[in-house]
Symmetry: C2
Subunit: 201 residues, 2 copies
Amino acid sequence: MPAPIDFYFDFSSPYGYLASQKVEALAAKHGREVLWRPILLGVMFRQTGVLPLVDIPLKGAYSRRDFERSARFHGLPPFNMPSRFPIPSQAPARIVLWQRARDKAAVARLVGAFYRAFFVDDIDISAPDHAVAVAAKEGIDSAAARAAIDDPAIKEALKQDVDGAIARGVFGSPFVFVDGEPFWGLDRFDQIEKWLATGGF
Amino acid sequence: MPAPIDFYFDFSSPYGYLASQKVEALAAKHGREVLWRPILLGVMFRQTGVLPLVDIPLKGAYSRRDFERSARFHGLPPFNMPSRFPIPSQAPARIVLWQRARDKAAVARLVGAFYRAFFVDDIDISAPDHAVAVAAKEGIDSAAARAAIDDPAIKEALKQDVDGAIARGVFGSPFVFVDGEPFWGLDRFDQIEKWLATGGF
Protein backbone atom coordinates (compact mmCIF):
# COMPACT_ATOMS: atom_id res chain seq x y z
CA MET A 1 0.00 0.00 0.00
CA PRO A 2 1.51 3.35 -0.97
CA ALA A 3 1.73 6.14 1.63
CA PRO A 4 -1.44 8.11 2.42
CA ILE A 5 -2.00 11.61 1.09
CA ASP A 6 -1.45 14.25 3.78
CA PHE A 7 -4.43 16.58 3.71
CA TYR A 8 -3.87 19.68 5.88
CA PHE A 9 -6.91 21.86 6.45
CA ASP A 10 -8.40 24.48 8.74
CA PHE A 11 -12.11 24.27 9.58
CA SER A 12 -12.35 28.02 9.00
CA SER A 13 -11.09 27.69 5.39
CA PRO A 14 -13.68 27.85 2.56
CA TYR A 15 -11.34 26.24 0.03
CA GLY A 16 -10.40 23.65 2.65
CA TYR A 17 -14.09 22.80 2.82
CA LEU A 18 -14.50 22.53 -0.94
CA ALA A 19 -11.37 20.39 -1.25
CA SER A 20 -12.43 18.14 1.64
CA GLN A 21 -15.44 17.09 -0.44
CA LYS A 22 -13.17 15.98 -3.30
CA VAL A 23 -10.03 14.50 -1.78
CA GLU A 24 -11.31 11.06 -0.74
CA ALA A 25 -12.48 10.22 -4.26
CA LEU A 26 -9.22 11.48 -5.76
CA ALA A 27 -7.13 9.43 -3.34
CA ALA A 28 -9.24 6.28 -3.69
CA LYS A 29 -9.00 6.42 -7.48
CA HIS A 30 -5.25 6.01 -7.11
CA GLY A 31 -5.30 3.47 -4.29
CA ARG A 32 -4.40 5.95 -1.59
CA GLU A 33 -5.82 6.80 1.81
CA VAL A 34 -6.22 10.32 3.16
CA LEU A 35 -4.54 11.37 6.40
CA TRP A 36 -6.77 14.19 7.71
CA ARG A 37 -4.56 16.78 9.42
CA PRO A 38 -6.35 19.74 11.01
CA ILE A 39 -4.25 22.89 11.36
CA LEU A 40 -4.76 26.43 12.67
CA LEU A 41 -4.33 29.03 9.96
CA GLY A 42 -4.03 31.86 12.48
CA VAL A 43 -0.66 30.45 13.57
CA MET A 44 0.50 30.26 9.93
CA PHE A 45 -0.71 33.78 9.19
CA ARG A 46 1.51 35.07 11.99
CA GLN A 47 4.47 33.45 10.16
CA THR A 48 3.58 34.74 6.71
CA GLY A 49 2.15 38.12 7.72
CA VAL A 50 -0.83 37.35 5.47
CA LEU A 51 -4.34 38.52 6.37
CA PRO A 52 -7.43 36.30 6.11
CA LEU A 53 -8.57 36.40 2.48
CA VAL A 54 -11.89 38.11 3.14
CA ASP A 55 -10.17 40.96 5.02
CA ILE A 56 -7.97 42.00 2.09
CA PRO A 57 -9.23 44.99 0.06
CA LEU A 58 -10.55 43.97 -3.41
CA LYS A 59 -9.53 40.33 -2.83
CA GLY A 60 -12.14 39.98 -0.07
CA ALA A 61 -15.13 40.86 -2.26
CA TYR A 62 -13.87 38.63 -5.08
CA SER A 63 -13.28 35.73 -2.71
CA ARG A 64 -16.82 35.76 -1.34
CA ARG A 65 -18.12 35.58 -4.91
CA ASP A 66 -15.61 32.85 -5.77
CA PHE A 67 -16.53 30.66 -2.77
CA GLU A 68 -20.15 30.53 -3.94
CA ARG A 69 -19.31 30.09 -7.61
CA SER A 70 -16.72 27.39 -6.87
CA ALA A 71 -19.23 25.43 -4.76
CA ARG A 72 -21.65 25.52 -7.72
CA PHE A 73 -18.87 24.57 -10.15
CA HIS A 74 -17.94 21.54 -8.04
CA GLY A 75 -21.55 20.44 -7.61
CA LEU A 76 -21.66 21.05 -3.86
CA PRO A 77 -24.54 22.42 -1.74
CA PRO A 78 -24.99 26.21 -1.84
CA PHE A 79 -22.07 27.87 -0.03
CA ASN A 80 -23.34 30.04 2.80
CA MET A 81 -20.86 32.59 4.18
CA PRO A 82 -20.94 32.07 7.97
CA SER A 83 -22.25 34.95 10.11
CA ARG A 84 -19.03 34.81 12.12
CA PHE A 85 -15.88 34.37 10.02
CA PRO A 86 -13.07 33.50 10.38
CA ILE A 87 -13.31 31.44 13.56
CA PRO A 88 -10.69 29.79 15.78
CA SER A 89 -11.03 26.09 14.98
CA GLN A 90 -9.41 24.38 17.97
CA ALA A 91 -12.61 22.65 19.16
CA PRO A 92 -13.44 20.66 15.99
CA ALA A 93 -9.71 20.18 15.24
CA ARG A 94 -9.15 18.51 18.62
CA ILE A 95 -12.19 16.24 18.23
CA VAL A 96 -10.81 15.15 14.84
CA LEU A 97 -7.36 14.40 16.28
CA TRP A 98 -8.93 12.36 19.06
CA GLN A 99 -11.26 10.50 16.71
CA ARG A 100 -8.45 9.81 14.24
CA ALA A 101 -6.58 7.87 16.90
CA ARG A 102 -9.72 5.82 17.70
CA ASP A 103 -11.27 5.19 14.30
CA LYS A 104 -9.36 6.48 11.28
CA ALA A 105 -12.00 5.36 8.79
CA ALA A 106 -14.72 7.50 10.39
CA VAL A 107 -12.74 10.75 10.24
CA ALA A 108 -13.68 11.75 6.68
CA ARG A 109 -17.37 11.73 7.56
CA LEU A 110 -16.75 13.70 10.75
CA VAL A 111 -14.70 16.34 8.89
CA GLY A 112 -17.47 16.64 6.30
CA ALA A 113 -20.07 17.07 9.02
CA PHE A 114 -18.12 19.88 10.72
CA TYR A 115 -17.47 21.66 7.44
CA ARG A 116 -21.06 21.46 6.25
CA ALA A 117 -22.28 22.65 9.65
CA PHE A 118 -20.10 25.75 9.29
CA PHE A 119 -20.27 26.58 5.56
CA VAL A 120 -23.77 25.36 4.71
CA ASP A 121 -25.79 25.54 7.95
CA ASP A 122 -24.01 28.53 9.58
CA ILE A 123 -23.33 26.76 12.87
CA ASP A 124 -20.42 28.35 14.76
CA ILE A 125 -18.35 25.22 15.34
CA SER A 126 -15.73 27.17 17.29
CA ALA A 127 -18.08 26.87 20.30
CA PRO A 128 -17.31 23.57 22.07
CA ASP A 129 -21.01 22.85 22.63
CA HIS A 130 -21.79 23.26 18.94
CA ALA A 131 -18.79 21.16 17.88
CA VAL A 132 -19.83 18.40 20.27
CA ALA A 133 -23.42 18.50 18.98
CA VAL A 134 -22.25 18.10 15.38
CA ALA A 135 -20.02 15.18 16.38
CA ALA A 136 -22.89 13.59 18.33
CA LYS A 137 -25.00 13.50 15.16
CA GLU A 138 -22.20 11.39 13.68
CA GLY A 139 -22.57 8.92 16.50
CA ILE A 140 -19.75 10.20 18.70
CA ASP A 141 -20.26 10.19 22.46
CA SER A 142 -20.83 13.78 23.60
CA ALA A 143 -19.05 13.55 26.94
CA ALA A 144 -16.00 11.95 25.36
CA ALA A 145 -15.87 14.55 22.57
CA ARG A 146 -16.22 17.35 25.11
CA ALA A 147 -13.38 15.85 27.16
CA ALA A 148 -11.19 15.62 24.05
CA ILE A 149 -11.47 19.40 23.53
CA ASP A 150 -10.04 20.03 26.99
CA ASP A 151 -7.52 17.17 27.04
CA PRO A 152 -4.01 18.62 27.58
CA ALA A 153 -2.45 15.77 25.57
CA ILE A 154 -4.67 16.51 22.56
CA LYS A 155 -4.08 20.25 22.88
CA GLU A 156 -0.35 19.55 22.80
CA ALA A 157 -0.69 17.11 19.88
CA LEU A 158 -2.51 19.76 17.81
CA LYS A 159 0.13 22.36 18.66
CA GLN A 160 2.88 19.93 17.61
CA ASP A 161 1.08 19.16 14.36
CA VAL A 162 0.73 22.84 13.51
CA ASP A 163 4.41 23.47 14.25
CA GLY A 164 5.33 20.40 12.21
CA ALA A 165 3.21 21.60 9.32
CA ILE A 166 4.94 24.99 9.32
CA ALA A 167 8.31 23.21 9.43
CA ARG A 168 7.22 21.34 6.26
CA GLY A 169 6.32 24.63 4.57
CA VAL A 170 2.54 24.59 5.03
CA PHE A 171 1.12 28.14 4.92
CA GLY A 172 -2.49 27.72 3.76
CA SER A 173 -5.52 25.47 3.56
CA PRO A 174 -6.00 23.06 1.93
CA PHE A 175 -2.40 21.91 1.65
CA VAL A 176 -1.59 18.45 0.35
CA PHE A 177 1.56 16.34 0.26
CA VAL A 178 1.85 13.40 -2.11
CA ASP A 179 5.01 11.42 -1.37
CA GLY A 180 6.65 14.61 -0.08
CA GLU A 181 5.58 16.85 -2.97
CA PRO A 182 3.66 19.93 -1.73
CA PHE A 183 0.46 21.22 -3.38
CA TRP A 184 -1.44 24.27 -2.14
CA GLY A 185 -5.13 24.62 -2.82
CA LEU A 186 -8.04 22.85 -4.43
CA ASP A 187 -6.67 24.51 -7.56
CA ARG A 188 -3.81 22.02 -7.63
CA PHE A 189 -6.02 18.91 -7.66
CA ASP A 190 -5.39 18.59 -11.43
CA GLN A 191 -1.65 18.45 -10.76
CA ILE A 192 -2.12 16.08 -7.81
CA GLU A 193 -4.09 13.78 -10.08
CA LYS A 194 -1.28 13.70 -12.63
CA TRP A 195 1.33 13.25 -9.89
CA LEU A 196 -0.57 10.26 -8.47
CA ALA A 197 -1.04 8.74 -11.92
CA THR A 198 2.53 9.18 -13.12
CA GLY A 199 4.66 9.32 -9.97
CA GLY A 200 5.79 12.88 -10.70
CA PHE A 201 6.39 15.16 -13.66
CA MET B 1 -19.70 38.33 -32.49
CA PRO B 2 -19.79 38.08 -28.67
CA ALA B 3 -17.69 40.47 -26.58
CA PRO B 4 -13.95 39.77 -26.24
CA ILE B 5 -12.49 38.28 -23.07
CA ASP B 6 -10.67 40.90 -20.99
CA PHE B 7 -7.27 39.49 -20.08
CA TYR B 8 -5.49 41.65 -17.49
CA PHE B 9 -1.85 40.78 -16.87
CA ASP B 10 1.43 42.15 -15.54
CA PHE B 11 4.63 41.24 -17.38
CA SER B 12 6.26 40.58 -14.01
CA SER B 13 3.67 37.90 -13.13
CA PRO B 14 4.67 34.22 -13.51
CA TYR B 15 1.07 33.01 -13.52
CA GLY B 16 0.22 35.81 -15.97
CA TYR B 17 2.87 34.34 -18.25
CA LEU B 18 1.56 30.78 -17.95
CA ALA B 19 -2.03 31.93 -18.55
CA SER B 20 -1.01 34.08 -21.53
CA GLN B 21 0.09 30.91 -23.30
CA LYS B 22 -3.35 29.34 -22.85
CA VAL B 23 -5.92 32.12 -23.17
CA GLU B 24 -5.99 32.53 -26.98
CA ALA B 25 -6.85 28.87 -27.55
CA LEU B 26 -9.50 28.94 -24.82
CA ALA B 27 -11.13 32.07 -26.27
CA ALA B 28 -10.95 30.86 -29.89
CA LYS B 29 -12.61 27.56 -28.96
CA HIS B 30 -15.66 29.56 -27.88
CA GLY B 31 -15.61 32.10 -30.72
CA ARG B 32 -14.14 34.89 -28.60
CA GLU B 33 -11.27 37.30 -29.05
CA VAL B 34 -8.83 38.30 -26.31
CA LEU B 35 -8.41 41.93 -25.30
CA TRP B 36 -4.86 42.07 -23.91
CA ARG B 37 -4.81 44.56 -21.02
CA PRO B 38 -1.41 45.14 -19.39
CA ILE B 39 -1.56 46.35 -15.78
CA LEU B 40 0.96 47.24 -13.06
CA LEU B 41 0.69 44.96 -10.05
CA GLY B 42 2.72 47.33 -7.88
CA VAL B 43 -0.18 49.80 -7.97
CA MET B 44 -2.65 47.06 -7.00
CA PHE B 45 -0.42 45.83 -4.19
CA ARG B 46 -0.50 49.30 -2.66
CA GLN B 47 -4.32 48.98 -2.58
CA THR B 48 -4.41 45.48 -1.13
CA GLY B 49 -1.35 45.69 1.13
CA VAL B 50 -0.22 42.37 -0.35
CA LEU B 51 3.47 41.60 -0.88
CA PRO B 52 4.85 40.04 -4.07
CA LEU B 53 4.35 36.27 -3.78
CA VAL B 54 8.03 35.37 -3.70
CA ASP B 55 8.67 37.78 -0.79
CA ILE B 56 6.18 36.11 1.57
CA PRO B 57 7.69 33.68 4.13
CA LEU B 58 6.91 30.01 3.32
CA LYS B 59 4.71 31.03 0.36
CA GLY B 60 7.75 32.35 -1.52
CA ALA B 61 9.64 29.05 -1.53
CA TYR B 62 6.52 27.12 -2.50
CA SER B 63 5.72 29.55 -5.30
CA ARG B 64 9.11 29.20 -6.95
CA ARG B 65 8.64 25.43 -6.99
CA ASP B 66 5.07 25.80 -8.25
CA PHE B 67 6.05 28.13 -11.13
CA GLU B 68 8.43 25.47 -12.50
CA ARG B 69 6.07 22.56 -11.87
CA SER B 70 3.10 24.40 -13.39
CA ALA B 71 5.09 25.22 -16.54
CA ARG B 72 5.87 21.50 -16.89
CA PHE B 73 2.26 20.56 -16.18
CA HIS B 74 1.02 22.90 -18.91
CA GLY B 75 3.61 21.71 -21.42
CA LEU B 76 5.47 25.03 -21.61
CA PRO B 77 9.22 25.63 -21.95
CA PRO B 78 11.24 25.30 -18.71
CA PHE B 79 10.36 28.17 -16.37
CA ASN B 80 13.48 30.12 -15.47
CA MET B 81 13.18 32.42 -12.44
CA PRO B 82 14.53 35.79 -13.66
CA SER B 83 17.71 37.10 -12.01
CA ARG B 84 15.89 40.32 -11.20
CA PHE B 85 12.33 39.84 -9.94
CA PRO B 86 9.84 41.42 -9.65
CA ILE B 87 10.40 44.20 -12.19
CA PRO B 88 8.46 47.36 -13.02
CA SER B 89 6.77 46.55 -16.32
CA GLN B 90 5.91 49.96 -17.75
CA ALA B 91 8.19 49.64 -20.81
CA PRO B 92 6.69 46.47 -22.34
CA ALA B 93 3.19 47.45 -21.13
CA ARG B 94 3.34 50.75 -23.03
CA ILE B 95 4.62 49.08 -26.21
CA VAL B 96 1.69 46.68 -26.00
CA LEU B 97 -0.85 49.50 -25.55
CA TRP B 98 0.63 51.34 -28.53
CA GLN B 99 0.73 48.22 -30.70
CA ARG B 100 -2.82 47.24 -29.74
CA ALA B 101 -4.12 50.50 -31.22
CA ARG B 102 -2.20 49.86 -34.47
CA ASP B 103 -2.59 46.12 -35.03
CA LYS B 104 -4.75 44.24 -32.55
CA ALA B 105 -4.13 40.86 -34.15
CA ALA B 106 -0.37 41.07 -33.62
CA VAL B 107 -0.58 41.76 -29.88
CA ALA B 108 -0.81 38.13 -28.71
CA ARG B 109 2.50 37.31 -30.38
CA LEU B 110 4.15 40.41 -28.93
CA VAL B 111 2.93 39.60 -25.40
CA GLY B 112 4.25 36.05 -25.79
CA ALA B 113 7.62 37.34 -26.94
CA PHE B 114 7.97 39.69 -23.95
CA TYR B 115 6.92 37.01 -21.48
CA ARG B 116 9.25 34.35 -22.89
CA ALA B 117 12.12 36.85 -22.95
CA PHE B 118 11.58 37.45 -19.23
CA PHE B 119 10.59 34.02 -17.86
CA VAL B 120 12.52 31.72 -20.20
CA ASP B 121 15.52 33.73 -21.45
CA ASP B 122 16.07 35.93 -18.35
CA ILE B 123 16.06 39.21 -20.28
CA ASP B 124 15.21 42.18 -18.05
CA ILE B 125 12.39 43.65 -20.13
CA SER B 126 11.95 46.53 -17.68
CA ALA B 127 14.90 48.19 -19.44
CA PRO B 128 13.52 50.16 -22.42
CA ASP B 129 16.40 49.04 -24.69
CA HIS B 130 15.71 45.38 -23.94
CA ALA B 131 11.96 45.79 -24.41
CA VAL B 132 12.53 47.51 -27.75
CA ALA B 133 14.94 44.77 -28.86
CA VAL B 134 12.37 42.06 -28.08
CA ALA B 135 9.68 43.99 -29.98
CA ALA B 136 12.07 44.49 -32.93
CA LYS B 137 12.45 40.71 -33.28
CA GLU B 138 8.67 40.64 -33.75
CA GLY B 139 9.01 43.06 -36.66
CA ILE B 140 8.20 46.26 -34.77
CA ASP B 141 10.11 49.41 -35.68
CA SER B 142 12.62 50.13 -32.92
CA ALA B 143 12.44 53.92 -33.03
CA ALA B 144 8.64 53.86 -32.93
CA ALA B 145 8.57 51.38 -30.04
CA ARG B 146 11.12 53.47 -28.13
CA ALA B 147 9.01 56.59 -28.71
CA ALA B 148 5.90 54.76 -27.45
CA ILE B 149 7.59 54.12 -24.09
CA ASP B 150 8.11 57.85 -23.57
CA ASP B 151 4.84 59.05 -25.15
CA PRO B 152 2.88 61.05 -22.52
CA ALA B 153 -0.43 59.96 -24.07
CA ILE B 154 0.45 56.29 -23.74
CA LYS B 155 1.77 56.77 -20.21
CA GLU B 156 -1.56 58.36 -19.32
CA ALA B 157 -3.55 55.63 -21.10
CA LEU B 158 -1.74 52.94 -19.08
CA LYS B 159 -2.35 54.84 -15.86
CA GLN B 160 -6.05 55.15 -16.71
CA ASP B 161 -6.26 51.44 -17.54
CA VAL B 162 -4.69 50.46 -14.22
CA ASP B 163 -7.05 52.77 -12.31
CA GLY B 164 -9.98 51.39 -14.30
CA ALA B 165 -8.92 47.83 -13.54
CA ILE B 166 -8.80 48.56 -9.81
CA ALA B 167 -12.25 50.15 -10.07
CA ARG B 168 -13.48 46.87 -11.59
CA GLY B 169 -11.97 44.92 -8.68
CA VAL B 170 -8.78 43.65 -10.33
CA PHE B 171 -6.10 42.86 -7.72
CA GLY B 172 -3.87 40.26 -9.34
CA SER B 173 -2.53 38.76 -12.54
CA PRO B 174 -3.87 37.12 -14.58
CA PHE B 175 -7.38 38.46 -14.11
CA VAL B 176 -10.08 37.70 -16.66
CA PHE B 177 -13.58 39.06 -17.25
CA VAL B 178 -16.06 37.09 -19.33
CA ASP B 179 -19.18 39.19 -19.96
CA GLY B 180 -18.55 41.02 -16.68
CA GLU B 181 -17.86 37.92 -14.57
CA PRO B 182 -14.45 38.13 -12.80
CA PHE B 183 -11.99 35.23 -12.64
CA TRP B 184 -8.62 35.45 -10.90
CA GLY B 185 -5.78 33.21 -11.95
CA LEU B 186 -4.89 30.51 -14.42
CA ASP B 187 -6.50 28.28 -11.79
CA ARG B 188 -9.93 29.52 -12.87
CA PHE B 189 -9.56 28.54 -16.53
CA ASP B 190 -11.72 25.47 -15.86
CA GLN B 191 -14.51 27.71 -14.59
CA ILE B 192 -13.99 30.19 -17.46
CA GLU B 193 -14.33 27.30 -19.90
CA LYS B 194 -17.64 26.26 -18.37
CA TRP B 195 -18.85 29.88 -18.23
CA LEU B 196 -18.06 30.36 -21.93
CA ALA B 197 -19.74 27.08 -22.86
CA THR B 198 -22.90 27.57 -20.80
CA GLY B 199 -23.27 31.35 -20.39
CA GLY B 200 -22.91 31.15 -16.62
CA PHE B 201 -23.55 28.70 -13.80
